[in-house]
């Protein structure tokens, strides 16, 4: 099990109702982690309902859902914003 800080921005933060959480996970990839998070609560499931609209950064670097999270300390999920 690894301990990872997860950050949520924009509508993800609003839907999950927290800007960050620290979780214990055995997920090997971002996609596995998202599946785990989706199973955690209705709020998480709602936030990740359209994963194609969400980008992920592993330790402050843009990555993708197929990437390994081995050794990663912080994972940030963020969508595009539209307001001006």
């Amino acid at each position: 099990m690894a301990t990872i800080d997860i950050l949520y921005f924009a509508w993800l933060r609003e839907r999950i109702d927290t800007p960050r959480e620290r979780i214990e996970t055995s997920a090997a990839t971002v996609a596995e982690l998202v599946a785990e998070l989706t199973a955690r609560s209705e709020r998480h499931a709602c936030a990740f309902a359209d994963p194609a609209s969400v980008r992920v950064a592993l330790d402050h670097e843009l990555s993708d859902f197929a990437a390994s999270i081995d050794g990663v300390a912080e994972i940030a999920f963020f969508p595009p914003m539209t307001g001006g």
């Binding site: 921005f9 194609a52 609209s53 940030a76 595009p80 539209t82 307001g83 001006g84």
Partner: protein, 261 residues
């Protein structure tokens, strides 16, 4: 005998003294600002500080594109507009405000909505485009026009309490909007300022960051945001810098050969 038109009007230069005093801008950087032509698409929340600061900084030519009119609910955050200009086109209101800040800036108001038909024409002839719009599909249209014209695109976006800023510039080795966000989410996932609300000072924070980045880029100062996305969360006091890259096979910028980032 060489007769050249002076760069600055009589009495203009002293207003830029505090920029000229900066080692990173100086006389040469100020001259680059004066010679620059910048396109600002959107004269709303983000456009307000961007336009005011760029005019104050002495950017020589500014084109403002927006097809909206000033309404009462704009005034909570769009500080370029005012109570006595309610109901008039935002580009006209903005031009009045900019003339008050710096009468030596040449301002071109364009009362149009950016679309497929006018994007290339609007971008042409500018050194920098600034995306301060409120529609993601329109942002992608501007991105494609900027990629095609090889004009760097400084982009800011806000939602409720949060903002994002980056410089899209494939020709400089940085990603374009489509590299970073290839998918336009469905409408219901994209809260606009109208439907979801926005904290009034937020576009001030993000818009001032955009103005600073524009001044740096034009003057050649410091390190730009090419290849870096800044995310600012004003509600929780979180900010993150995320390294972003060009995407292999990006349908918008894939054909552009960029310098190493």
């Amino acid at each position: 005998m060489n007769v050249t038109t002076p760069l600055y009007a009589e009495g203009e230069l002293p207003r830029y003294a505090r920029h000229i005093a900066l080692r990173e801008i100086g006389g040469p950087g100020q001259a680059r600002l004066k010679r620059a032509s910048v396109l600002v698409v959107g004269a709303g929340g983000l456009g307000a500080p961007v336009l005011l600061y760029l005019a104050a900084a002495g950017v020589g030519r500014i084109t403002i594109v927006d097809d909206d009119q000033v309404s009462l609910s704009n005034l909570q955050r769009q500080i370029i507009h005012s109570q006595d200009r309610l109901g008039i086109p935002k580009v006209v209101s903005a031009r009045i405000a900019l003339a008050g800040v710096n009468p030596f800036v040449s301002v071109t108001p364009v009362e149009e909505r950016l679309d497929e038909g006018n994007a290339a024409r609007l971008v042409a002839g500018h050194d920098l485009a600034i995306d301060a719009m409120d529609s993601l599909p329109a942002r992608h249209l501007l991105n494609a026009a900027c990629v095609a014209a090889r004009v760097p695109l400084l982009s800011g976006a806000i939602s409720q309490w949060e903002g994002q800023v980056t410089l899209y510039a494939p020709a400089l080795g940085a990603p374009c909007l489509s590299c970073l966000f290839p998918v336009i989410p469905p409408e219901e996932l994209l809260p606009t300022c109208t439907s979801a609300g926005v904290m009034g000072a937020l576009p001030g924070i993000i818009g001032a960051m955009m103005a600073a980045e524009a001044i740096k880029l034009i003057a050649g100062a410091g390190r730009t945001l090419a290849g870096r996305l800044l995310i600012q969360d004003a509600l929780w006091g979180e900010s993150r810098e995320i390294a972003i890259h060009r995407r292999d096979g990006c349908p918008v910028c894939g054909m552009i050969v960029g310098e190493a980032a």
